[in-house]
Symmetry: C2
């Protein structure tokens, strides 16, 4: 917590730190001594005096430790290395998992990361750990995927354990949409005291909720599956087992499948439709539809607006349940139609959410672009590995 406070404040005196943490100055002196010994914090000149003797200012030693974040999807894999302040030191985008088995992908990923660290001049010993975020549900504590995504070979695979062997670092596995939410917080996209949800539009639709800088985890860190809440009790069955799911009715695939049934398919060269169970690059096809909507195609506009209305409708549920003050729209899916989505979702929520007499819900674009999840993954490692007393249980780790 002490390091979190120093990070948030950038520079702070011991007295301010004691006030912020509600600890005695003796306790803070002890904590700070350990941080100085570990080189995580440096003393940096004198602060403004408030009458007594001038106070020594503590600063985060930003480049004393690093953390790696990996956002692994079927289509793409984003790697970032961040420093203690959340600044991105190096970044790479690799091809996604496609149909490859996990062992092969993780091993080559580890090799790429070692090369990357060497060329950036970062010693492995200064890296706190690696956060790998991907599809849920997961067994968060053991780092095992409980989903046949990104492909069926990953189901029940011990991702954290094997990745840790390959990369020779502690590895934390988490949900990508949760990570995107915490990434938003670290990048300063929201007020520090905010209760916000990130609504993540990728191939699917995910979400994460952050309350005053802490990820809402629930029982097993599998929460905020906004893509699989039902908006129609009599709707079509979804592969998740529920019916009328938001993702199935309003996600990129749903919009593309609607477009395939209209003249838009020819006009935008969307190609022939594929059966319901088959894979296509829906995010790319969807981008052609949002581009056409922005360019003034009324048929494309209607499809995008209906998708936005349904996302707005689900956002009312999010606000009614989590009492949010902010909703952040994140992920590559919003693309060129981000402004339309923002406008429609904000209007829906603020017209109809239950406690609108109490306060408004702001709907804002992400500040982190498509790196939110990877940055959040790295930030989660820093939160787990560096705070002196984590609020949430630290996931079990394999040895360094």
């Amino acid at each position: 917590m002490a390091l979190d406070q120093i990070r948030a404040a950038r520079s702070i005196s011991r007295v301010e730190l004691a006030e912020g943490l509600g600890l005695t100055s003796a306790a803070v002196t002890r904590i700070v001594r350990d941080l100085l010994d570990d080189g995580l914090v440096v003393e940096d000149g004198r602060g403004r005096s408030t009458g007594g003797k001038p106070r020594t200012i503590l600063r985060l030693n930003v480049r004393s430790r690093y953390s790696i974040g990996v956002h692994l999807e079927r289509n793409a894999c984003v790697i970032v290395v961040i420093d203690l302040a959340g600044g991105v030191v190096t970044r790479a985008v690799l091809p996604g998992v496609a149909s490859a088995p996990p062992g092969e992908i993780l091993s080559s990923l580890a090799d790429r990361i070692h090369v990357r660290l060497r060329s950036a001049g970062i010693e492995l010993s200064t890296v706190v750990g690696l956060g790998l975020v991907t599809y849920g549900p997961q067994d968060w504590r053991s780092g095992v995927l409980l989903t046949p995504q990104p492909n069926p070979q990953w189901l029940d695979f011990p991702v954290a354990e094997r990745m840790s062997e390959f990369v020779r670092l502690p590895v934390l596995v988490d949900n990508d949409a949760n990570a995107a939410a915490i990434g938003e917080y670290w990048l300063g996209g929201v007020e520090p005291s905010s209760t916000f949800a990130s609504l993540y539009l990728g191939t699917g639709i995910g979400g994460g909720v952050v309350v005053a800088g802490q990820l809402y985890r629930g029982s097993s860190s599998n929460g905020v599956e906004i893509g699989h809440i039902s908006i129609d009790v009599n709707g079509e069955s979804c592969s998740c087992g529920n019916r009328g799911c938001l993702e199935r009715m309003a996600g990129p695939e749903a919009v593309v499948r609607h477009a395939w049934q209209t003249p838009l398919a020819d006009r935008l060269a969307l190609g022939p439709s594929v059966p319901a169970t088959e894979y296509a690059d829906f995010l790319d096809l969807f981008a052609r539809i949002t581009d056409a909507a922005v360019a003034g195609d009324t048929e494309a506009q209607a499809l995008v607006e209906e998708s936005a209305r349904l996302l707005g409708h689900a956002s009312i549920t999010l606000a009614n349940l989590f009492d949010l003050d902010t909703i952040v729209l994140a992920g590559p899916g919003f693309g060129s139609a981000a402004a339309t989505y923002r406008e429609v979702i904000a209007a829906e929520v603020n017209r109809s959410w239950f406690s609108r007499r109490a306060h408004a819900v702001r709907v804002v674009p992400s500040v982190s672009g498509s790196d939110a999840a990877a940055i959040g993954a790295a930030a989660l490692v820093l939160q787990h590995g560096l705070v002196d007393r984590p609020i949430h249980p630290v996931p079990r780790r394999t040895a360094v």
Copy 2:
């Protein structure tokens, strides 16, 4: 937090307390000294030695302080006085608010409470405060209702401030369904580390989520409005501003209105239907339907099972968003049909919630009967007033 730990453990040594709180023994010695001075804790003999000298055991001085909980509804008002361990010392049920103005109700309520305390031999100076829980939305920090419930005169009325003047105690106003959830926790109805939701069926449908003993509050303590999440994006408009709301489709009023359109209305003497905007004792009429269902009336059974199915459907949303391990069914509405609701909801959730590969969701009946909200109201006061460092902001209070 120290007092919370002592309360949870019933008896504990300073060493165990220091371990539980992650504080140094010096810090714990200081905290315990203050608790002893205030008479909140007593030293009570010697614990088992673990080799060294025997440890002095600390116990909560259960009857050293009290807290009052009031659950105020249109139909009824439940008052409880609890001790530091959450035990109910005295309890009363009064008529509800009906059409009376707030000033009148609160003043007579305060008189009744003073009489009650005197006859129980409790000094006002030993009462930590009063928690009043009722309809939302509310301005939680100032204790003002932002809803025309229980009747339009209560909208914007400064409930906390006026009640505090009348009763001469600090007053905290909160949402009744939130309070029912924390009441369940205090009464030991769930595992202490549990992430659970209470699904409260009264005249309306409310909810509360508790994570490891702390109420999920969100931005303004107006969260978990499960009755007003939509289960049908194309459903009927609700007075809340949303459409297809769970309460409107599956609550007691909805079931009674369905029954009015069938021969059940005559068979169960439900009386003539009233217009949509008009008030009736729907909870009483609904009880006749659940009683008939339990007695084997197939038409009544069909109505109750459909209501349960819709509650189960909304419970999937709750589980998918909050990642719950337990759902507690609370409130008077379940009445004689509690077993049917439990069975149907458990089946729906565990068949279809997103992360069922990660863990099951238990669906259990409340242990607290219809007093859950009042007991929770009193417990919230103890949590706010007694923990040494509250996690959530303490609501602004008027002077004692």
